[in-house]
Structure formats: C-alpha cells, structure tokens
C-alpha cells in the first residue's frame, strides 16, 4: 500500500523540524504511482500532486508520526476535501425534474429507480420517465423496476423514435399524476458521439431539469476527464453519481471527474438492489484511491 511504501521511504526519519524538500520529492514519486494505479487521470494526478506538494512543504514532522504517515494523511485530507466539498442535496424546487445521463452501461436505469426509492423514503412522490428509445427492452427494464419499488413509470411506445415527443407526452402524463419529482432515464451514449450528445442537449433544453446527474462507473479509467468534460460542456451537469462502488475499483475517476467539472459527487451506487444507493462518502473514497 502507499502507506507501507512511504513508511519504507522514510524509515530512518523521525519527528523534528520541517518535512524537507527531499522528503516531499521522494514521497511524490510514490504518491504519483498510487494515484495512477488508482486510475486517476494523468494530468489530474499531476496537478493534484503539485498542489499538495505546496502544502506539504510547510508542514512540520510531528514527533509521534513518521514523515511517510504524515504525507499520506496530508494527501488523504486534501483528497477528501476536494471530493467532498459542497456535496449538498438535490435541488427539488418545482417543477422538480432530474435528468440522468451517462455512458452506455454506467447504471443510469438502475440508479434512476434507486433514486426514486430514495426520494420516496424521504416522503416525496417520485415519478419515472423512460426516455431510452434505443436499447432493446430498456422501457421494460424501467417499468419492471418501477413496479418493484411501487413508483409510477411513464412508458412510451417502444416503436417511438422521437425522444422530444416522448418528453412532451411525459409532461402531459405528469400533470395527471400526483408526483412531486420526476426522474428522466435516458439512453446510454458515448461522450464523443456528437449526434447523440446533440440529441441529449435538445432534451435537456426542453425539460430544463433542476438536476442533471452524470451516472458514471467507478471503474472508469483514463477517459474519466473526457467523459465528464464533454457532458458538462454539452449539457451542464449538476452532480455525479458513481456506481458499482461495491466492487474493488480504486475509484480514481471520482477525483478526475470532480477536479475537471467542480461538480459534486452526490451519490454512490453500491449494489444492484434498489436500496443500494448511498450518499457519497468522500473520506472512504479518498482512502480507497490512496490505497
């Protein structure tokens, strides 16, 4: 682990005076390895290390702690602070609409249903709208999940090709429901697919959602920056949901996406069950990234 590696690097140094520039530089090599192994994006890792190096240089080696341990603590604190800042809740002012977006297979449909259940447990009346007209049985999938959690789902005709028409019809349907917040599930797409991103932009502009959540797989590698940046620039996101954190992905994508968009990571998907959605825990993910 990084802690072990740093402890080895600093075996002989004990607590007095400032951390030297050499202490820091030696540690940076180890931390860089750890960040890249944790799938933090290359330039994000570089920037993060440079910023923390500044802070570390001012620190005094505490008597009871080895410099290695101290540097790990500095990094963990910095990372948890970066990951956790302004992790507020959801803007659910009426008309409360939440748009779920992201790459193919990230977990949007599952997360849409989990979020609906979460909101219902909070005493709200959620509705789900199936706007994925592309994937076979996507509408069935959301309808099935909606039934499991007892949340009404707007299901378009699977032969419908126009997602804006579906959105228009869904808004009409919503008027006759007794809902207080609506979650719109969308089709997966690759962030560099200009046509599909343009379609999503039209949908977003039409719905004018209070929240646009980027659903992303926590095991995403070096493309995390590209993914987050493209969605942010094209449609503007208000938050991120990291999924499949119940696995052993190190989760560096959290740092990458957060750094490049400055948007909060609002939730963590921690399993396939509808109950397995948690508030994002920055300390735990920081610990996981640094290993």
């Amino acid at each position: 682990s990084l802690s072990d590696n740093l402890q080895n690097t600093f075996k002989k140094i004990r607590g007095h005076g400032k951390l030297t520039e050499k202490n820091i530089t030696d540690a940076m090599r180890e931390v860089r390895m750890a960040l890249l192994e944790a799938d933090v994006e290359f330039s994000v890792a570089k920037t993060f290390i440079a910023n923390v190096k500044e802070r570390a240089l001012g620190e005094t080696v505490l008597k009871s702690v080895s410099p290695g341990q101290q540097i790990v603590k500095i990094f963990q604190d910095e990372m948890a602070a970066l990951l956790g800042v302004d992790a507020e809740g959801l803007d659910l002012n009426p008309p409360a609409r939440i748009l779920m977006v992201g790459l193919n297979g990230a977990g949007k449909t599952t997360t849409s249903a989990k979020l609906a259940l979460h909101l219902r447990k909070e005493g709200r009346r959620p509705l789900l709208v199936a706007c994925d007209l592309m994937r076979p049985a996507a509408i069935d999938q959301l309808a099935t999940l909606g039934k499991q959690i007892d949340v009404p789902v707007y299901t378009p005709d699977p032969n419908e090709k126009d997602v804006l028409k579906v959105a228009k019809d869904a808004l009409k349907w919503i008027e006759n429901q007794n809902g207080t917040v609506t979650i719109f599930d969308t089709a997966g797409r690759q962030e560099i697919d200009n046509e599909l991103v343009a379609e999503l932009k039209k949908l977003r502009d039409f719905l004018d959602p209070k929240e646009t959540l980027l659903v992303a797989d926590s095991a995403t590698g070096q493309q995390a920056v590209s993914v987050a940046q493209h969605f942010e620039e094209a449609i503007g996101i208000t938050g991120i949901v990291l999924t499949k954190l119940d696995g052993d992905a190190r989760g560096g994508a959290a740092l990458s996406m957060r750094s490049v968009t400055q948007k909060p990571i609002k939730f963590a998907g921690v399993g396939e069950k509808m109950s397995e959605l948690e508030a994002f825990d920055p300390e735990r993910v920081a610990g996981r990234i640094l290993g």
Binding site: D39, D217, D248
Partner: protein, 275 residues
Amino acid sequence: LNRFKSGEPVDWDDLEETLITGDLGIRLTTEIVDILQAKKGQITAETIVEACTEEIKSILGESPALPQKREDGLPTVILVAGVNGVGKTTSIAKLAHLLKKQGNSVMLAAADTFRAAAIEQLTVWADRLDVPIIKTQYQGDPSAVCYDAHKSAITNNVDFLICDTAGRLHTKSNLMEELKKIERTIAKQDDTAPHERWIVVDATTGSNALNQAREFNKALELNGLIVTKLDGSGKGGSIVAVKHELDIPARFIGTGEGENDFSAFDSDAFIASIL
C-alpha cells in the same frame, strides 16, 4: 508522440503519458518503456512508434482463429461472462449475427434470469436476428436454462450455442460460485463444453479490468476476451495488461450498439489507436 521529428531523441515522457492514458496501467507502461530504453540508441523519435508497436504486438500475440464449428456435429458452446454493464448481451447478439452470416446455425441461452428485463432484452435481439432462444421465467435457475439450451442445441444440430449470463462483480464470491456451477452444468452433456469461455471488458475501464479478468479466469479458465465500446474515447489498453499477466487473448471488439458493430480483434488497428 514526438514521432516524426527526424534525428530527435525520443521523448520518453511523452511515450509514458501515451501508454498510461491508453489505460495500459503504470506498471506495464514502466515495463514497456524500460524495455525500449534498454535498446540503447537503436530507437529514435522516428522509430519509436514502430518499436513500441512491435513490443505491444509481442505481448498481444497472434490473434486466435474465429470460433470453430465442431467436426463431431455437437454444438460449440460459448459461455460469456463479465461485470455489470460491459456489453455482454449486446456482444452475444452481434456474435450470433456474425456466425449466422457465415452460414452457421446459432442458438441463444438467456441465462441472465436475475436482472430486470434481461431476458426480454436478449429476446428482442433473437427476434431481430431470427435466432432461436431458450429461456425460462424471471428469477429462474441460470444453470437449468443452459442445460435445456444445450440439450436443444444438441438435438437440433445447432453449430453454436451462446450463453448469456448476468453481470456480476468479481468480488462477489457467491456470484462467482454461481458462474462455476453454470460451467459445470454445461459440461454435463459434453465434458469438453463450454469450449469458449470469454470475458467481456469495457474499453473505458481502467486497471480494474485486470482484477476482473483475474477472478473470472480463476472461475472459468478464460480463453478469450471481447473488448467493447471502442467507438468511444476508451482505448482499451487494459486488455494488454490482461494478456500480459493472464495470457487471455482478445477475440472480438465492439464498436457500437448495432449488430454489425463487431469485428475480429486486429492488433495493428488496436495499437495504432493507442499510439
């Protein structure tokens, strides 16, 4: 890469960044850069791409043959596994389409009985591609589906039986045990089956792909890998690390959501996109 600056020294940092951002992982990247740097003076900015290509190519090895029809008339059984959302079901549809276009008879086993509308999803594909599908009710036994499908494939002289399975994280031992049970069940009617045991990996996954491959390999002794979503920004470099450590070769790539967005793995094209 500073590749075409004639007479210039190699920008090793640039090469390192290229490989890391291609998701080859820092460890394998360091190993490759060390090997190339050890070839003292033989490599210049002009030849670095070629040298690096050769190095990665030697890791990836020869592309294996396409899945073969059996000579004894029994179906070739292909078991497809992987973590959640990587593209197993869609890749199976694409593979069925490809094999059918080549003149083979294909059957599908909808053995993801767990996820909402998983059976429906594969059924839509089966109908579109005009391929028979064996399924059971939602939350039925996946091993039983594979057994019944295998029985039907044998009886009907089907050339290829492809078994879809539920996505599962490799860290969940009960789910990995279920997968092993599926494999054992398939072996009941033909102890050489399943003949192909593949993992599907997402091209945008980072180093976790290696963890995935390790665990699925322990469960199934994988002999192939499909890398999907190469139409996106992901380079799929993690599959080089998988080949390097576990010797599991890439067989096919997915390049989109349609049934034709699928082709045999080609290491030249793959490496070119990384470099």
